[in-house]
């Protein structure tokens, strides 16, 4: 295995993160604080507990995943898109790297950033609410799993994109709406039919509820099906990336 090559990509990407570290970390902190002020304090104080969990604490897993989804896609897609844009992709394509090594470098770095941002949001949340974590190890594991899955997705989007606008299309027009409608700020159980059934077709529901289970030991859907959906999404992204490298689609002419 070309460990030096993986390390080179990882360091390069982390250096890029380091150049914008304050905006990278301060934006989620400020955004999270605003969500807490609006949803947790202003609206949450008027709401009952959700599944025996105070509303302010209930929204924390959803808030974390909202940031994880967008940051993972953004970081991983930019990571591979920028070499395409600047032309430095020639070096990557001519290097003695397997597809797995390339993905480990880019997705590893993007996932590291996403997890770091997720943990910063968690720390910010503690400033506003009491937040028990029922299964801390599972929480970390799930956080990493979701970050990796969405970084893989972002990596594929970065290869697919032919311009900066396309990089934004899927995160803004698909992922964020699905997250808002996927129970980030409410329990699916409170929705009336047929919306409750319709919502269950949204895969993000399972991701958020799986993560929520690690905090509170309870969720709207079972942990098993959440894990299956998360793993399935990861496998689909891996298959897409595998196909990209085997065909050279949008990488090689």
């Amino acid at each position: 295995m070309n460990l030096h090559g993986i390390w080179a990509i990882y360091r390069f990407e982390m250096a890029r993160f380091g150049r914008t570290i304050w905006t990278s970390l301060m934006v989620p902190v400020i955004t999270t604080s605003l969500y807490f002020i609006v949803f947790g304090s202003a609206i949450g104080s008027q709401m009952q507990q959700v599944s025996d969990v105070p509303y302010g604490a209930f929204i924390v897993p959803g808030l974390m995943l909202l940031a994880i989804f967008s940051e993972s896609i953004l970081n991983a897609s930019l990571g591979i898109y920028m070499p395409k844009f600047t032309g430095t992709i020639y070096e990557l394509l001519s290097a003695p790297l397997t597809p797995l090594e390339t993905v480990l470098g880019y997705v590893g770095a993007a996932a590291t950033k996403s997890v770091a941002i997720g943990l910063v949001i968690l720390a910010t949340a503690y400033l506003f609410v009491d937040l028990p974590i029922a299964h801390p190890l599972a929480m970390i594991g799930y956080l990493v799993l979701v970050a990796v899955a969405f970084c893989l997705f972002g990596f594929a989007i970065g290869i697919w994109a032919n311009g900066f606008e396309q990089l934004q299309v899927i995160p803004l027009l698909v992922v964020t709406p699905l997250t808002f409608l996927g129970g980030a700020f409410y329990s699916v159980q409170i929705l009336p039919e047929p919306w409750r059934t319709v919502t269950l077709f949204n895969p993000v529901v399972y991701l958020i509820n799986g993560f929520r289970w690690t905090f509170f030991g309870t969720a709207d859907v079972g942990l098993g099906i959440s894990l299956i959906v998360t793993m399935g999404f990861t496998a689909a992204c891996l298959a897409w990336i595998g196909w990209i490298f085997s065909t050279g689609w949008r990488l090689k002419s």
Partner: protein
């Protein structure tokens, strides 16, 4: 061990839509030589080296580096190949040292190396090692690309239009560097449309046009084989037209009738010069000076590419 470091066998490239960028090419590059691939823009030079480097997928054929298939054993092959691209593609916000170290690691070598310092000093980049690439001039960026290509100590180096957009001083420096690399045993393939560059550096020359490799030969042999010599006579009295008595030599009038030019094949046993001069004497055409010159690689190149059209 074979004399050939690189063998290109029947490699071709047809893009989607049917555009043929490269007709089947067979080419062998000898170990330790400097090979110049000459051709006009769009001839297929960059496509060919991009295929060898793994950037473009060939439609057919195979590439062997020291007997190893560049597709099957791409990891081993790529560790030995370096590429300086034509475009100044760099990571603008990286420092010189960081980007060269990145390249070395990417190709599987440890980043901590005295070699990098030596390389940067060799390319007059050591003083700029902490400078951001965006702050460098075009010529310095070109040096950085060369340093990146050499960072993993390849023994086969591709230089794609190395002189594009660089000043005369840097061009001379690069030529010196290329010769030093060859002395260290690096095999170098350069693509260029600056004939002077090929004439200065190459051991062998390949001419490519419209995706077809027209010929490959030793530079000296090529110039001898295809080169023409010219005899220019500066006349005492200008001529309005070539006298019909000189028709068999096909001379031309240049410089407003003041120069009579006779083109001859230097490789022929009989150049025709004595008889031509004798005939001039008989016709009373006097000349006050004479000069001979040989055609340059550029003339040969223009003839070849022109014939291929």
């Amino acid at each position: 061990m074979s004399d050939d470091l690189l063998r290109i066998e029947g490699v071709s490239k047809t893009y989607k839509g049917g555009v043929v960028a490269l007709h089947p090419v067979d080419l062998a590059i000898r170990r330790g030589e400097i090979f110049a691939l000459l051709g006009p823009n769009g001839a297929g030079k960059t496509t060919l080296i991009s295929i060898v480097c793994g950037i473009v997928v060939p439609s057919a054929g195979r590439i062997l580096v020291d007997g190893e298939d560049a597709v099957v054993n791409y990891r081993q092959v790529r560790r030995r190949v370096g590429l300086v691209p034509q475009e100044l593609s760099t990571d603008a916000f990286e420092s010189v040292l960081a980007t060269v170290t990145f390249s070395r690691r990417l190709f599987g070598r440890s980043g901590h190396s005295a070699y990098i310092e030596e390389l940067l000093r060799d390319l007059s980049l050591w003083d700029k090692r902490d400078a951001k690439i965006k702050d460098l001039s075009g010529g310095m960026k070109r040096r950085v690309l060369i340093a990146k290509a050499l960072a993993h100590e390849p023994d086969l180096l591709f230089l794609d239009e190395p002189s594009a957009g660089v000043d005369v001083s840097l061009r001379r420096d690069m030529w010196k560097l290329v010769h030093r690399l060859r002395e260290r045993g690096v095999t170098i393939i350069l693509t260029t449309h600056y004939i002077e560059e090929a004439e200065e550096m190459a051991d062998r020359v390949g001419v490519i046009s419209r995706g077809k490799l027209l010929l490959v030969d030793d530079k000296a042999a090529l110039m001898k084989k295809l080169g023409k010599r010219e005899l220019d006579l500066t006349l005492v009295e200008p001529l309005a037209a070539v006298p019909t008595e000189l028709a068999e030599w096909h001379p031309t009038i240049e410089n407003g009738g003041h120069t009579l030019r006779y083109v001859f094949d230097a490789t022929e046993e009989r150049t025709g010069i004595p008889s031509f001069l004798r005939r001039l004497g008989e016709l009373g055409i006097a000349f006050k000076d004479l000069e001979t010159s040989k055609s340059s690689l550029e003339d040969i190149f223009v003839d070849l590419v022109g014939d291929a059209k």
